[in-house]
């Protein structure tokens, strides 16, 4: 499975040649004599991990694969088997607790997944079986079944459209949950299948499942009639929703996990934060410390025992069994015993505390009222708590542009007709014409131009008028993101929704409407337009020359009432200018460029009158090309290009895709300089490097060659040029040239899977990306987005990536990045469900990263370091004591102290700290983005801070032990001359330890709420109380009353008091000094850069 995924990821699937044959309705073709029902997977979607039966073993296996859990298991087993200084309960109980809690949590999560799966799998669909309609659960659909889908239903599997209730053999589909595009797409039925589906017998020869949403090559053969080739326009994808069509019939071609949707979802792999990786690294260090300690002690023990009289002094003779035991076995068990004795250095409780911190801490995100969006009545959502701290580490942000950066609601801003600019200021006051900002007031000739332009806007599009059947529908459509008119503006009777394949088309049609030209809709091949004089003009739509990303333009050919055949064309300036007269271009290009710099989407509009001969020629060409079986695309393209020539430019439009509130500010937060243009992503003065199909097609050479050249060239410019100043570090300061980089999906796929040495391209591409302040990738498939994220993620220094998106097309990217953030936007819930965090608006990202992320990181980093530190200085005296007890694994502390230290005495303060600490208050963090860089690159969990904490732990551990050791050079510490024993020794060390460690935390606490006070002073008081209590009673269930009155006697000794105070102060002295003398020094770190997709 994994390999298959990998293969897919690297595009190797292209070479797969075998195809599958599907019999429509499971009816064998009479022509073929043998009918073997082919086996395909069923239509069940499985996202859950466990079943009832395999839960326990599988979950346990998963859990014990964690290095820490496995380690504790080993320790526990050692304690059970070998005679060790501490009882198995001390490690068994916490381990059991941790395992159980985790198992319950994971079980619950899996149950939720089961539920979600069932919802999809048990959904009832209608299937045509031998002419009868039968209700079936979705999971029972088999490949070859003919399925009925009604309006607003999602397709249960990938279907080939056979029949539609619409008379024009089309249906409308929104793929919002697949690729995030909420507009309506037109899909076509297979030609010549009008006859009854019951008797239709046909075979479909299609390729094996592959994830590319926009690729589908199939041959549909009716048994009688010949072969038809089908394309993606015939395929209805699972997950897409049927719109504006009453019902359709389709034959299932891919089902279940083989649907394009399922293939596009990468498995939700466990995301691990850098902090967790650091913990594991530190854990290894501590394991090494532990093992070396045990080794040292074992060695010492046997060296010491080899001295005369020490092996078996008369007062401590061995039993017969011990004498008989094998020496090496003894050594080994001794080694294990030491391991057990020192195993507290890696406490289970750290994992418990980290888990609790993450779990409880994540509530603060969902509780934050700043994330609450009154529009959708929802706040932030936390899907995983494992990544809280990762929010403070983000280096690259990948955002989906449409809907995420922008609101995905286009607005017509201005247009320019024949060199004069018209701006839409206040539409309601404008009755006639535009407000002209430059150029003469409307003259008659001007007026004509104007009307032609507006007509063009009204005609040149593929917009459909949504027939509203009632109010409910209307509301529902708005929710779906279909752009309509605002209710206040139009009379209810005129309520009209426009459905188009791109929101800017709607914006243009709406724009034209504001100026008096209203598109009324299609009436059997006639387009009806209402002009300013409220007359309805009718145009017969002859041909639509569809938009495609390569041509970057579209055209319509219409015939007006008076018989003129006109071609209207609109498209990107770059694709229109070469096809019109040069003098017209000069007049308009200035405006277009100006609008583009402001960040509007600009389109140019051109038209051409066709003579009847010209039209006849074009018509024939188009028809021929449409019917071509192979190379249809190429042939059509050629005809299009031929037709769209010699046009005259009439104007240009500018449409604004509004940015989400505060988007610019949010994006700017770290890289103060990366202001954008084109959604203000690019700064003025940013040099644009463009790598698109268009740039590649210059010169007519093979794309691969050209790609290589261009890449090398850009690489030279972006990577090698900047450092005229020799230091690489400064090459990113704002003084240098900023580069913006644009790449489109088609080119990207070339980069990723062109030739065998694609790794070379990849690295070039990556270097270019990393050296640009902004990278814009357009028209990308979901997996491509993920590929980019993956590439950056795995690049040198493995930067932390964050993906943010709102549509299902962003899911792959969200899953791929270290942190995936979903926006609870208009495009469905897929992104939110698959994300780690979901926020209502893009602007919330700022607080999420700068505020919460930073704090979480500081908190958890401190928590981790503190935990290692406090256990080091806990166990170090224990280790040192082995030198004074004949290396006999004698514990220094009582078992109760050993167990309670991490659970009760020192756990609560650090937990409270790690939940409440605000070393810098939220407002300052948010207003001062440079602070975010202070913790970048895992600054607080690198080796140098770790070394500092470790040294501190060692210093304090040494101090605790030897301070008391010197005190005990005369164990008569009371004024009655009585002496203290070994448990008093341990208790004094332990008391110093608990106080020091707690006060150290108190010193680090910058934000003392009442909870901190309560917990810090509370746990010290609890320690005192517990010690009194523990030593004050003869415990009936205990055999050994080792601590009986030890603590009370200790408190009676003035010397003990004095030594405790002395040692606490001495331990904290370096910390205090450092705190006072340290000037605020911020580590140098790389700035956070943004990559936009």
């Amino acid at each position: 499975m994994l390999r298959r995924r990998l293969n897919r990821l690297f595009g190797r699937d292209e070479r797969r040649v075998d195809s599958r044959t599907i019999y429509v309705g499971h009816r064998p073709c009479p022509a073929t004599d043998t009918f073997i029902p082919p086996k395909f997977c069923d239509n069940r979607i499985v996202s859950s991990k466990y079943t009832v039966w395999n839960f326990l073993p599988k979950n346990l296996f998963e859990q014990f694969r964690r290095i820490a859990n496995f380690y504790f298991l080993i320790i526990f087993l050692v304690q059970v088997i070998v005679d060790t200084p501490t009882s198995p309960v001390t490690s068994g109980l916490p381990l059991f607790f941790v395992i159980t809690v985790t198992a319950i949590k994971q079980g619950y999560e899996d149950w939720l997944r089961h539920k979600a799966d069932n919802e999809v799998n048990k959904y009832l669909v209608t299937v045509l079986e031998d002419g009868r309609r039968a209700r079936k659960e979705s999971e029972k659909i088999k490949v070859g079944d003919v399925v009925e889908v009604v309006e607003d239903e999602t397709f249960p599997c990938d279907l080939i459209l056979l029949q539609s209730s619409r008379e024009d053999e089309t249906c409308f589909v929104t793929t919002a949950s697949l690729d995030g595009e909420s507009n309506h797409k037109t899909h076509y039925t297979v030609p010549d299948t009008e006859k009854g589906l019951e008797s239709l017998s046909a075979t479909v020869e299609c390729e094996q499942p592959q994830p590319d949403l926009y690729k589908f090559v199939t041959f549909f053969s009716l048994c009688v009639v010949s072969l038809r080739s089908l394309g993606p326009e015939n395929l209805l994808l699972k997950g897409a929703t049927l719109k504006n069509t009453q019902k359709i019939y389709g034959v299932a071609v891919y089902s279940g996990m083989e649907t394009k949707m399922a293939l596009n979802y990468q498995g939700k792999s466990q995301k691990r934060s850098v902090v967790e990786k650091s913990i594991n690294a530190f854990l290894l260090v501590y394991l090494c410390i532990l093992v070396s300690k045990a080794l040292v002690c074992t060695t010492l023990k046997y060296v010491w025992q080899s001295q005369p009289g020490q092996e078996e002094p008369w007062y401590n003779q061995k039993t017969q069994k011990e004498k008989d035991a094998n020496l090496y076995l003894n050594m080994f068990t001794d080694f294990l015993s030491f391991m057990v004795l020192f195993n507290f250095i890696i406490p289970v409780s750290m994992y418990v505390t980290v888990e609790m911190q993450k779990f409880l801490g994540s509530f603060f995100i969902s509780w934050d009222k700043d994330f609450f969006d009154p529009e959708i009545q929802e706040g932030a959502l936390v899907n995983t708590s494992d990544l809280n701290e990762e929010l403070g580490q983000v280096e690259y942000v990948f955002t989906d542009k449409t809907g995420t950066l922008t609101q995905n609601s286009m607005e017509f801003i201005e247009c320019c007709i024949d060199g004069f600019q018209y701006k839409n200021r206040d539409s309601s006051t404008e009755l006639d014409g535009f407000c002209v900002t430059d150029g003469p007031v409307s003259m008659l000739q001007q007026k004509e131009e104007e009307e032609l332009f507006l007509r063009a806007l009204c005609l040149c599009h593929t917009v459909q008028v949504k027939e509203s059947t009632g109010q409910e529908d209307w509301v529902g459509d708005q929710v779906d993101g279909v752009l309509g008119l605002d209710g206040e503006m139009v009379h209810p009777a005129e309520l009209r929704g426009f459905i188009a394949s791109s929101p800017d088309e709607v914006a243009l049609v709406k724009g034209a409407m504001k100026y008096g030209f209203t598109f009324l809709g299609m009436e059997s091949k006639n387009m009806r337009v209402m002009n300013r004089d409220k007359d309805v003009e009718t145009y017969e739509l002859l041909h639509v020359l569809n938009f495609d990303p390569v041509r970057r333009r579209m055209s319509v050919i219409v015939r007006s009432k008076c018989g003129d055949i006109m071609l209207f064309c609109k498209g990107a300036d770059s694709s229109i200018f070469p096809r019109v007269r040069q003098e017209e271009v000069d007049r308009i290009s200035m405006h277009v460029e100006r609008n583009a710099t402001v960040g509007y989407r600009t389109l140019c509009v051109a038209y051409k009158l066709l003579s009847s001969e010209e039209y006849a020629q074009a018509d024939a060409g188009l028809r021929e090309a449409r019917l071509a079986l192979d190379d249809r695309e190429e042939k059509l393209m050629a005809v299009y290009n031929q037709v769209e020539t010699g046009m005259s430019l009439i104007g240009a439009t500018a449409v604004e895709d509004r940015l989400q509130e505060e988007a610019a500010e949010t994006m700017e937060m770290e890289t103060a300089k990366s202001t954008c243009y084109a959604c203000r992503l690019f700064q003025r003065g940013t040099e644009l490097l463009e790598l698109t199909v268009r740039t590649l097609e210059d010169g007519g050479r093979r794309r691969e060659e050209r790609l290589h050249e261009v890449l090398l060239d850009y690489h030279k410019r972006a990577v090698q040029d900047p450092p005229p100043v020799k230091t690489r570090v400064t090459s990113w300061t704002s003084a240098k040239q900023d580069y913006g980089f644009i790449i489109d999906g088609a080119t990207l796929s070339l980069v990723f899977n062109s030739s065998p040495d694609s790794s070379h391209y990849k690295s070039l591409f990556l270097q270019i990306c990393q050296n640009c302040t902004t990278v814009l990738c357009c028209r990308m498939a979901p997996l491509q987005k993920a590929q980019i994220v993956n590439m950056v993620k795995n690049s040198k220094g493995s930067p932390i990536t964050l993906s943010i998106g709102d549509g299902a097309n962003d899911v792959s990217m969200i899953l791929e990045a270290h942190i995936g953030i979903g926006i609870k936007g208009k495009e469905g819930r897929q992104a939110v469900r698959n994300s780690d965090y979901a926020i209502p608006k893009l602007k919330h990202l700022k607080k999420l990263l700068l505020g919460h992320g930073h704090l979480y990181y500081v908190r958890i980093a401190h928590l981790v370091q503190y935990f290692f530190y406090k256990n080091l200085c806990f166990i170090l005296p224990q280790f040192l004591y082995q030198f004074f007890c004949g290396s006999s694994q004698q514990p220094l502390y009582d078992a109760a102290y050993l167990t309670m230290y991490n659970i009760c005495f020192t756990s609560m303060p650090i937990l409270a700290y790690s939940l409440l600490e605000q070393h810098i208050c939220m407002e300052v963090l948010m207003s001062n983005a440079t602070l975010y860089r202070d913790v970048a690159k895992n600054a607080m969990l690198r080796w140098s801070p770790f070394l500092y904490w470790t040294l501190l732990g060692v210093y304090q551990g040494l101090l605790f032990f030897f301070g008391v050791r010197f005190l005990f050079s005369n164990p008569a510490l009371q004024d009655n001359g009585q002496v203290f024993g070994n448990w008093s020794y341990g208790t004094i060390v332990f008391t110093v330890l608990v106080f020091t460690v707690t006060l150290k935390l108190a010193m680090d606490t910058r934000h003392w709420t009442w909870i901190n006070h309560f917990v810090i002073w509370g746990s010290l008081a609890f320690y005192m109380f517990f010690s009194f209590f523990w030593g004050g009673i003869i415990w009936p269930f205990l055999r050994q009353q080792r601590l009986y009155f030890v603590f009370a006697n200790m408190l009676r000794s003035v010397s003990a008091w004095l030594v405790i105070i002395l040692l606490i102060l001495l331990s904290l002295l370096p910390e205090i000094l450092l705190l006072v003398l340290r000037k605020p020094r911020w580590p140098h770190s790389r700035q956070v850069r943004y990559t936009h997709i």
């Binding site: 001295q307 005369p308 009289g309 002094p313 008369w314 007062y315 401590n316 603060f364 969902s366 509780w367 009222k369 027939e467 509203s468 059947t469 009632g470 109010q471 509301v475 009777a493 299609m522 009436e523 059997s524 004074f884 004949g886 006999s888 004698q890 514990p891 605000q918 301070g963 005190l967 050079s969 005369n970 164990p971 008569a972 510490l973 009655n976 001359g977 009585q978 002496v979 024993g981 070994n982 008093s984 341990g986 910058r1006 934000h1007 003392w1008 709420t1009 009442w1010 055999r1039 009353q1041 009986y1044 009155f1045 003035v1054 010397s1055 004095l1058 002395l1062 102060l1065 205090i1072 705190l1075 006072v1076 000037k1079």
Partner: protein, 369 residues
């Protein structure tokens, strides 16, 4: 149905019912909104918004310097007091292992020699102020070994007769004797109880005058009153029927103190002193106090002779034995460490506060600006 039909159909229907629809929908929406408002909106409390009032201490030089001076001075004060106190404590330490041939105890250092006594003589030039505490000390003796310390039966020692019959296996090899009789008290710890005995004589005009020892109050009060209990059998001897004494012992547990019947068995204070394991391999344990008679004020100047019943072998493991006479103060026995440590840390604090003051005066810390 064609598109045209649909449209006409709507055109007729729409105007009339629409207002009703909108109002009801609006109503429903408002209701839903209110409901959601209350359910979905996060609580606006100080805790959930992380805005709990908080004290944000800053350790600035202005606080730390005076603080350090104060702490330093206090520490120096305590250090001086500790040092002087420790200086005033008199300690007299004598090794009597008998490794040197000149020592009187040399003759006893041969372990095969049983019931050997030797003498240790010393003289005091001034009064050894009382109350004088008499300790014995052992070195290179690992009472802190785990197996050694675990080799005892606490239930037995708290007087549970069941465990007289079957001592815990941790006592092995001192669990049962060769005839499978249970040993009480069992275990290495009890078995190896220190059994040298001492008698101190003051030589007054050539005659030996016994200095009376007080064997009470040498162990922790809680040990002989609560933690360790004899079985409630009288006479105590009967409780020990069917058991044997530890092999190293010369007398059974119920005859440890012939002079005081209440100081026998498991609550014998010498026994309890031994049972409280020393933390370090060089240790001393309280043997007797000199609080009575003419010696209540201390040991007067003069010549003394300590008679030692030398029983306890230490040379086999390279150990040493010593006796220590010491008086104690409020801080316990003599210990120079604490006083010196306090003085050092105290002066360190003062010096550092001076350094900080200089740095502060010269550079003015940026955070105070």
């Amino acid at each position: 149905m064609s598109q045209q039909d649909q449209k006409d159909h709507q055109g007729q229907q729409q105007p009339e019912p629409l207002p009703v629809h909108t109002t009801t929908i609006q109503k429903v929406r408002i209701m839903m909104k209110e409901e959601l408002e209350t359910t979905n909106r996060p609580d606006n409390t100080a805790f959930t918004q992380q805005r709990l009032p908080a004290w944000q201490p800053m350790l600035s030089a202005g606080i730390v310097i005076p603080g350090f001076v104060l702490i330093g001075l206090a520490f120096i004060g305590i250090g001086v007091a500790l040092f002087i106190t420790s200086q005033n404590i008199t300690v007299l330490e004598k090794d009597y292992t008998g490794v040197e041939t000149t020592s009187d105890c040399y003759k006893c250092s041969n372990p095969s020699d049983k019931n050997c006594t030797c003498k240790l003589e010393f003289s005091l030039s001034t009064l050894f102020e009382g109350p004088v505490f008499f300790y014995y000390g052992l070195s290179n003796y690992f009472q802190s070994q785990r197996s050694y310390g675990a080799s005892k039966d606490e239930y037995q020692l708290s007087g549970d007769l069941d465990y007289f019959k079957t001592p815990i296996s941790a006592c092995s090899p001192y669990q049962y004797d060769a005839n499978q009789n249970p040993i009480v008290p069992c275990g290495s710890l009890a078995n190896s109880m220190f059994n040298d005995t001492f008698k101190l004589y003051q030589i007054v005009n050539g005659t030996k005058k016994l200095v009376p020892f007080d064997g009470k109050g040498i162990a922790w009060w809680t040990d002989y009153n609560i933690k360790y209990r004899n079985p409630s059998v009288t006479p105590l001897k009967n409780a020990f029927n069917g058991t044997v004494k530890p092999s190293f012992w010369s007398k059974p547990a119920y005859e440890l103190d012939t002079s005081d019947p209440s100081n026998n068995g498991f609550v014998n204070q010498d026994f309890l002193v031994w049972m409280r394991r020393a933390a370090l391999p060089d240790f001393r344990k309280l043997y007797r106090r000199i609080t009575e008679g003419d010696y209540a004020r201390g040991l007067p100047a003069g010549n003394y002779s300590l008679e030692i019943a030398y029983n306890y072998p230490v040379l086999s493991f390279g150990g040493r034995k010593k006796v220590v006479f010491s008086n104690v103060s409020w801080m316990g026995g003599k210990n120079q460490f604490l006083g010196i440590a306090y003085l050092v840390v105290g002066s360190l604090c003062v010096v550092m506060s001076m350094v900080m003051l200089i740095v502060y005066a010269k550079f003015k810390f940026p955070e105070d600006d």
